[in-house]
């Protein structure tokens, strides 16, 4: 076996050098405070009875969804209302009746989505519905169908661009994982036995 080595073989390698000098440049720098928007402000419009489209969305510190109804009234959805709608959507994804994961849904959704679908398709969906994310994983239709939830294709583009711009105004984007990053340390080894 190649990698069972004796001392003399290893002593000639970089391990020995590292043992005598250590790693260089390991200074710990203080963590920098990052100010990245963590949420999304979403406006959803009822375009026909029971049909909804995403009118606009912007990066925001908190996630808020404003619903503009056909009768021109506006309301902010409560957390409870969002939870109920997302739970209904999750059930539809589970039993295969969700338009979001239907390959032919883009046409049928031209007239608008259900409210739950619109929320999931919006930027807010990725945040408050992250627990559903795994049900959408691997689904090629979801990204395409998302676009159908936007009032116009330009809304989708504008929305995407504004989220990108939230990080930096140049085309280069940085600041990812600025804070609250889970540890990757000692990954694995979960199961003892």
């Amino acid at each position: 076996m190649k990698y069972i080595k004796t001392f003399s073989a290893i002593a000639a390698s970089g391990v020995a050098a590292l043992l005598s000098t250590g790693l260089t440049g390991c200074e710990q720098r203080p963590a920098q405070e990052q100010t990245q928007p963590k949420g999304a402000f979403v406006i959803i419009e009822e375009t026909a009875p029971g049909k909804y489209k995403i009118k606009d969305e912007f990066p925001a510190d908190e996630t808020r969804i404003v619903l503009k109804k056909l009768d021109n009234t506006e309301k902010i959805l409560t957390q409870e209302e969002m939870d109920v709608l997302l739970a209904e959507e999750a059930a539809k994804i589970d039993n295969g009746t969700s338009n979001l994961t239907n390959p032919d849904a883009q046409m049928s959704m031209q007239g608008g989505m259900s409210l739950g679908e619109a929320i999931l398709a919006s930027a807010a969906g990725a945040i408050i519905g992250s627990w559903i994310g795994s049900k959408l994983f691997g689904n090629q239709n979801y990204q395409n169908n998302r676009k159908a939830g936007y009032k116009s294709p330009s809304t989708y583009q504008r929305s995407k661009n504004s989220f990108n711009k939230a990080r930096t105004s140049s085309t280069k984007k940085s600041g990812f994982f600025g804070k609250n990053k889970n540890s990757a340390s000692r990954s694995g080894g979960f199961f003892g036995g």
Partner: protein, 394 residues
Amino acid sequence: MIQLQQTSPLTTEYLESLGFVWHTDSDATPYVSDQLVILSKAEAEAYYKAGNELYDMFVAAAQYVIDNNLFHEIGIPFNLVELIKESWETDIHWHLYGRFDLAGGVDGSPIKLLEFNADTPTALFETAIVQWALLKQNGMEETAQFNGVYEAILDNFKRLVTLEENVATFEACYEGWKFLFTSVRGNSEEENTVRLLQHIATEAGYITEFAYMDEVEFDENEGIFYNQEQYELWFKLIPWEDIALEEPDLAMILTNIIKNQKAIIFNPPYTLLFQSKGLLKILWDLYPNHPLLLETSFEPLQNTKQVQKPVFGREGESVRILDENITLIEGTEGDYDNHKMVYQTYVELPSDSKKSSYQAGLFFAYESCGVGFRKGGKILNNTSKFVGHLLLDS
């Protein structure tokens, strides 16, 4: 029963001089054991062969997932599927290194695969450097150790350019592509693991630099930048599934960077297929009753003591040991309770006279290249201890 050799511990001053600053756990006990597991050459040889065989099986299982579009089944985030397929297609997305976690192999019990940490393996510093320093400091120079991790990774760095087993042509083939090494800010263990890899890459002959994740700039058309310099090669000790879930914009940008051939990222996106414990179920489907495998299912196993664990989870969180009636025996809290789970047949880990359990961590870089151990309770977590080994012919 595990056989152990007592040694004199390395001083914290010495460990820190190496850059190994995570030597003490939060309860003020040393993270590195002052004992060494005694391993025979035949046992080391068996680990070596097991790793090589398992890797071939993982490649076949990943190909099966791709061919049959089973990404959803094994919990792969949808926004990484394209990236995974893209990286799987060509050799330039070379797998740098990974770590198999194994039960058995040391006290007469058979080697069994627990999982494969293929994306962001740690315990690298301990295995490659610290356990060998223990031998050296204790005057055990004449004793061999199954530990060529440093050299194997160094050779595999060269293969990122030569793309073949032979690394002799590296100098002739290397065109000066710059290699950026990245970890998140504020975690010295991860940072120095990455800096060790940077050190090895520098010795291999690369132009290298280190940057914290929040300092790195990404442009889907131009590539990856730090301080106005472009880096064609990028190593990140950040799990791909975290990129997918926590920074979906970045996942999209990286997909385009790879498609536009502006950078090569290590470990490659497809290593997330290996990392998913859902692949353990696919492996069992493809190689039923294989001696290196434990039966694994997406549903609780019938009449079998088993372990329930999330397809992506870290530090032993959200792991449960269940008895034959699927009743909880022992479990851990964690952030992964809502994740997709797999159920793997329970296997007893080898233990010492104090009933501590030992799990082998077998490093793989083009081939099996070294082993180290972790000791703890039944469920090993981030309070488990690292234990080195020494080879004795018995």
